[in-house]
């Protein structure tokens, strides 16, 4: 770029010494090395993230194929057929439970304060008891049929599994090039159609059982004895309605059984919804394993919801107080105090939950003056509420710190402008500071949610670990039911499963769901902050 001097002499560096003079190591300057160090760290973290994602997806993806096999044998071996009948029998059992609940309530009403003696009350309920036992016994033939067919189906499944094991054995031998041994492994074929004949042939017998059951229940219902107490009439009516629904479902079951075809293939499209929408997580069962994430997802979600309901008012409220109201001395006290909570190892919190909080909450729930609270009193010490309270403790520091930052980022000038216009401190906080920091607060809450969803130890110890979707029919009462969570189940079961088995892969699928969930929560938190950031500050 410099014009060659007319004399074309090389420039003398001593006259204008601006050239680089640097120490070089293997051709690299010190600056290059430092740059490479930091760049390398960044690359490593990206690569590690990529590897983890890849690993999760690979392990999880195998699940879909395996679950398809799992569902195929369920159909091939006739388990699906038997489950149609079993479900009918279970529906019937639910009705008998309703009856015994009704009897208990009536008995309590009869023997209540100023009521009659126990024996007299039992005598009054004799007609009802006769009805109830008649109702229960009516399904005996059905139950008999179910257990008979269950054995047949289970036997077919067992044989199938044995054959699968043999196939696996041969595959391994072949892989080890032991051709002779491999050839020696006998793999019998199962003729499913033939095996299933006893099950199929039971259809006429089932029809008879069914017609019988319908007739007996119909007669019983027509002559339902009146309960003495009129206040139970709505419950009785409800029972009759439920029983009629139950009876009305019979033809549909028969049609399902007729149409049932063990050869109908399980499509790949069924294996995925069976996971995502499956309402049962049932493993190592003698009958059939189910891998449905819904109960775990609901559990995680409900615990997180309870936690956020507690943590958001606490965290945001404390942030507003510290940022807007507190004196410098209070700030120095409160801020480290709240941030200190996150210093507790979560296993310690979980232990505290079991030993102290669970007990205390249960004792509290049994106070008569708190009986109006949903779900109170309860007896399960470990449940959504206990876990939620502790998780709230974990979320509060995150929400508090980030919300406080967001409030701090509101330019002081805005606050001053508001005050100079004659706003009170409260008006300034509510009308200017909170709206201006809302996006930051929302993202603080989202990050708190991410923290809570991913937390493992506390839920494993305190959520009760019952794999079931809570019963929402009692309104808010569900918050005192035990649940299991996605993180909890991975921690609990991962150590015990056989590597590569369907159960192992199902756990990876759960991990994948968790990962995607956390990722999207974090992403939306960042997105919200970026999208609504104040232009000036």
């Amino acid at each position: 770029m410099t014009e060659p001097s007319p004399t074309s002499q090389p420039p003398d560096p001593a006259v204008f010494p601006v050239h680089k003079r640097r120490l070089r190591l293997l051709g690299l300057t010190v600056e290059d090395c430092i740059q490479a160090f930091f760049g390398g760290n960044a690359v490593i973290s990206v690569v590690v993230l990529g590897l983890i994602t890849f690993f999760l997806v690979r392990e999880g993806a195998g699940f879909l194929g395996q679950n398809r096999g799992n569902l195929s044998i369920y159909r091939l071996a006739g388990l699906e057929y038997v489950d149609h009948l079993r479900r009918q029998a279970e529906d019937h059992t639910a009705l008998t439970r309703y009856l015994s609940d009704l009897r208990l309530r009536s008995l309590n009403a009869l023997t209540g304060p100023g009521g009659m003696e126990l024996e007299a009350a039992n005598a009054r309920l004799a007609a009802f008891d006769a009805f109830a036992s008649g109702f229960e016994d009516a399904a005996d033939p059905l139950r008999g049929l179910v257990s008979e067919l269950s054995e047949v189906a289970a036997a077919i499944k067992t044989r199938h599994l044995v054959i699968e094991d043999k196939k696996e054995e041969r595959r391994q031998l072949l892989a080890e090039r032991k051709l002779e041994e491999a050839a020696a492994v006998v793999i019998p074929e199962i003729d499913f159609a033939a095996e299933l004949r006893p099950i199929r042939d039971s259809l006429p017998a089932y029809r008879v059982v069914n017609r019988d059951l319908a007739a007996r229940l119909g007669t019983l219902l027509a002559a339902l004895p009146r309960l003495a107490a009129p206040e139970f009439q709505p419950r009785v009516d409800r029972f009759i309605a439920l029983a009629r629904d139950f009876l009305a479902g019979f033809p549909a079951i028969e049609r399902d059984l007729e149409a049932w075809d063990h050869t109908r293939p399980v499509s790949a499209g069924e294996a995925f919804p069976a996971f995502v929408f499956g309402r049962d997580w049932l493993t190592a069962s003698f009958w059939q394993d189910w891998y449905g994430i819904v109960p775990l997802l609901t559990g995680s979600f409900l615990v997180a919801l309870v936690a956020l309901c507690l943590a958001v008012p606490l965290g945001v409220g404390a942030a507003v107080y510290v940022n807007q109201v507190a004196s410098a001395r209070e700030q120095r006290l409160i801020k480290p105090g709240i941030e200190f909570i996150s210093a507790f190892p979560s296993v310690v919190l979980g232990f505290f939950g079991i030993a102290v909080l669970g007990q205390a909450l249960r004792a509290l729930s049994q106070q008569p003056w708190l009986a109006w609270m949903p779900g109170f009193p309860y007896s399960e010490r470990l449940n959504i509420l206990t876990a939620g309270c502790l998780l709230a403790l974990i979320a509060v520091p995150t929400i508090f710190t980030l919300a406080e930052d967001a409030l701090n980022n509101v330019p002081r000038a805005l606050k001053e402008a508001s005050l100079a216009l004659g706003a009170s401190r409260l008006q300034t906080t509510v009308r200017i500071v909170l709206p201006a920091s809302l996006s930051g607060i929302i993202s603080a809450v989202l990050l708190g949610l991410g923290r809570v969803i991913g937390e493992t130890m506390v839920v494993l110890l305190c959520a009760g670990n019952r794999i079931a979707i809570p019963d929402f029919s009692q309104g808010l009462g569900f918050i005192v039911e035990p649940v299991h969570t996605m993180t909890g189940i991975i921690a609990q079961e991962m150590g015990e499963v056989v590597r590569g088995s369907i159960h192992y892969r199902a756990l990876f699928m759960v991990g994948l769901v968790l990962f995607v969930l956390s990722l999207s929560i974090n992403y939306s938190a960042q997105h919200i902050v970026r999208r609504y950031r104040l232009p000036s500050s």
Binding site: S327, A328, P411, R412, A413, L414, E416, A417, S418, L419, A420, L421, G422, A423, S424, Q427, R431, I432, P435, A436, L534, P535, S536
Partner: protein, 276 residues
């Protein structure tokens, strides 16, 4: 960023009903023997100054001499700073000592509006920026709000530029427009005194000229106290000028006297640009 406070205005407290009108000779704001410190650091010493009604009073002096501090005393914005307090003396507006316990700062600040150095519109629409002060006072009537919004924007010479975009964010306005919006916002609540703390220091010459023009219009209705670093500006727009140095009031006189015939050699040195 250096955040220089720009304050426009002067504190005015309405005379309570029944108080006779102030005698014309008596200044609107009377600052008497005022000492002020931030914690243990004194910032103002022994200030005695009267501010006339419906006049523009300019406060000048080198950086750090306490002009902003004095301005912020007039609407008690210094209350927000921990440790900051008046250690001696008093400030009276309409004869009322504004630092008495029974004075409601909120009422005071409605009467003594303030415009800051860096324009600070709220992240709301233009209309809502103006309506904010009125809504605080509980005004809900839409028609009345619209009327005051228009009047205030006209008063701040901004109406023609923004009348078609009142619903748009105020942050989309230019710096000069934002500053005029802040003035409009201040006059919407009908103060008596407007404090301005270097209102033009972040603006280009054209926007500055507009604000100066506006100040000329506003002097008819408001008492204005303006801090400025710009000698020409002080000379152009003010009636009275007070020169401060190291926390003391050096000289206070009609602007023309300060610039043409200063009594104090320090004032002379400062206005002629020899220091500061």
């Amino acid at each position: 960023m250096v955040n220089l406070p720009v304050r426009l205005g002067s504190p005015a407290v309405a005379a309570p009903a029944g108080v006779p009108p102030v005698a014309p000779s008596r200044p609107l704001v009377e600052i008497e023997d005022l000492d002020f410190s931030y914690g243990v650091t004194p910032a103002l010493k022994d200030i005695t100054l009267g501010i006339e009604p419906r006049k523009v009073t300019a406060l000048i002096g080198p950086s750090g001499c306490g002009k902003s501090t004095l301005l912020r005393c007039l609407n008690r914005m210094n209350d927000l700073i921990e440790g900051a307090r008046i250690t001696a003396g008093s400030i009276r507006i309409h004869g009322v000592d504004i630092n008495q316990r029974d004075v409601d700062v909120i009422e005071l600040r409605k009467r003594v509006g303030m415009v800051f150095q860096k324009s600070n519109p709220f992240p709301k629409s233009i209309r809502e920026n103006i309506a904010y002060g009125l809504r605080l006072q509980g005004l809900r009537d839409r028609a009345r709000l619209d009327e005051i919004v228009e009047r205030s924007l006209r008063g701040a010479a901004l109406w023609e530029e923004v009348k078609d975009r009142l619903g748009e964010s105020a942050l989309g306005l230019s710096g000069g427009q934002q500053q005029r919006l802040c003035i409009a916002r201040t006059i919407a609540v009908e103060p008596e005194i407007i404090l301005m703390d270097e209102p033009c220091s972040a603006l280009d010459p054209v926007a500055t000229a507009k604000i100066e023009e506006l100040i000329q219009e506003l002097r008819a209705r408001y008492s204005i106290v303006i801090v400025t670093h710009n000698m020409q500006q002080a000379a152009r727009c003010s009636d009275q000028t007070a020169f401060f140095y190291l926390g003391r009031l050096v000289e206070h006189a009609p602007t023309r006297d300060i610039f043409t015939n200063p009594a104090n050699p320090q004032t002379e040195a400062y206005v002629s640009g020899r220091f500061g």
